[in-house]
Amino acid sequence: MTALRHRLADRGVDRNLLLLLPAAGFVVVLFVYPFLYGIGLSLRPPEGGPLGAYRRFLTDPYLRDTVTTTLGLSLPAALLNVLASVPIAYRMRGRYRGKRVLTTLLVLPITLGTVLTAQGLLNFLGPTGWFNRALLGAGLIDEPVRLTHNYWGVFLSLVITGFPFAFLLVSSYLSGIDPTLERAAATLGANARQRFRRITLPLLAPGLATTFCLSFVLAFSVFPSAVLVGDPAGETRVISIAAYEAAYVQYDYVLASALAVIMGVVELVVIGLVLGWRALLYTGSTIGKG
């Protein structure tokens, strides 16, 4: 008994690991078990064999197309959020007066929540809103641009809520890169563009991949804004709307679980691709002197 305990302790297993038990048990009971339960449920439809719900998904275009709709919204939105944050965060590095205020302003939209954003977009971009009014007044357009209750409304809402998040992550990755590396490159004669392309960008790339993944997760689960500023029955019928309707409107838990599983799989495939690409990049210390 003592010998076994010693052998285990050599490999790092002892009583202190019990500290992990609550968290591990918690994740298993409230995350893993429900997920497996959902998968099990999705394989037991009343008719059509174990894969009936999935077959229904593949044959019904009203369900199948939700995947492309969701990806069509979330991929461009996440990409734009990450790509826009890089130059802005890069410009905002270093110390200067008013940095904290500027950061706070850029992060402000986190507080808005989807409903105020939706309400604001409807008021501001609507046919009689200030935006159209200003463009009409300036003579740039002849009739109001339609920006709400369609794809663009949801897209803008995803940018407003997602950008601050991407910006925060990118700037925290950027602040982890030692500025002396760039200074060293500068003394060797590299100009600003070369310093960014050859020094900063390669060190930042893994962080960008992570940021893209997290932004994508946020955008992929778009639900409230797709209902409120979008066109939930047509152009912006995303997969989470379909899953919600199946569970809470039609009470078809089998189909709802199948949709949740499909949603998870699609999302994990995208993340897997991005992280697989990330694994090819350099992910070591970003501090110069070591």
């Binding site: 790092g12 297993v13 500290l19 609550p22 968290a23 591990a24 918690f26 994740v27 298993v28 409230l30 995350f31 429900p34 339960y37 959902g38 449920l41 826009a84 130059p87 802005i88 410009r91 270093g94 200067y96 950061t103 706070t104 992060v107 402000l108 939209p109 986190i110 507080t111 808005l112 409903v115 105020l116 939706a118 309400q119 604001g120 008021n123 501001f124 009689t128 200030w130 009014r133 950008f163 925060l168 992550l169 700037s171 925290s172 990755y173 602040s175 500068a186 600003a192 997290l214 639900f223 409230p224 409120l228 569970a247 709802a256 949709l259 949740a260 998870g264 999302e267 994990l268 993340i271």
Partner: protein, 280 residues
């Protein structure tokens, strides 16, 4: 050389970037201002500004949507989720950061998954399970569902803070005869206060703003403010638009206070990597 990058007078690319930032701010200001103006206006159709001004919508929103109880529920859920997720998450973060043992990477992946999955994907099966055991529809179900992403989030935020503490401190305490529990309470906890505060505030902000999980598990008397707001807006037509606006303004001011408090304690740009100070 150094100064040039910091001045606002910069290259064309610099102008383009500041232009984009400015455009973002103009859009943002428009979105926020249109809601605030509308919440104080009487009638607003096809004009630049409403015809008259009133603060009455706030009182009406308060009564219409029974905001008092909703705020109490929001507070209860937030406090319970923050407290429980810290209790469960901090010891786990400590063990994961300090020890190596078989299966450690698997556990880390397991703790990362709830953050990487969109809430709806696990929210629907979770709500089904919670309904099956009678938790959903009550406060307990809402709290349990919200803990699922919060515990891993605490672990993720706490890990860098724990890694910064010198392990020799614990060894020294142990040499002096302290038990694990004493080490936790007397040595680690005081050193971890900044990290715990940061994690607590971030979880608080996330929980107050979490829509999907609360929406899927809440019953009529366990709605938080976000969910009540969503219902008020999606059932529009019954209520005046302006009272929804007023409620959205109340929600945002609450979140704003939380965010300002959070920014006092947490430097948002240093969440991922803690960096030494830049040379002046």
């Amino acid at each position: 050389m150094e100064l040039r990058g910091r001045r606002i007078v910069a290259s064309p690319a610099g102008w383009l970037i500041w232009g984009a930032v400015l455009f973002f701010f103009v859009m943002l200001a428009g979105v926020i201002a249109s809601v605030v103006v509308s919440s104080f206006g009487t009638r607003w159709f096809d004009t630049w500004l409403p015809q008259g001004w009133t603060a009455g919508w706030y009182g009406r929103a308060w009564d219409d949507f029974t905001l008092g109880p909703v705020l109490v529920v929001t507070l209860e859920v937030a406090v319970l989720v923050v407290g429980l997720s810290l209790l469960i998450g901090v010891p786990a973060a400590y063990t994961l950061a300090r020890r190596s043992f078989p299966g450690r990477r698997l556990l880390q992946l397991l703790f990362l998954l709830p953050i990487l999955m969109p809430p709806i994907t696990y929210g629907i099966p979770l709500a089904t399970v919670l309904y099956k055991y009678g938790f959903a529809g009550h406060l307990s179900g809402v709290v349990l569902a919200n803990l699922v992403p919060s515990v891993p989030f605490v672990i993720l935020t706490m890990t860098p803070f724990i890694e910064q503490i010198d392990p020799q401190l614990e060894r020294a305490a142990r040499m002096c005869g302290a038990t694990t529990r004493q080490i936790f309470l007397r040595v680690l906890a005081p050193l971890l206060v900044p990290g715990i505060l940061a994690a607590a505030i971030l979880v608080l902000v996330r929980t107050v703003g979490m829509f999907e999980l609360t929406f899927l598990t809440a019953g009529p008397d366990s709605q938080t403010l976000v969910v009540a707001l969503y219902y008020s807006m999606s059932s529009a037509g019954i209520r005046a638009q302006q009272s929804v606006d007023a409620m959205a303004v109340i929600y945002t001011s609450m979140m704003l206070v939380l965010l300002v408090v959070a920014l006092r304690f947490v430097n948002p740009t240093q969440l991922v990597a803690r960096v030494r100070d830049e040379d002046p």
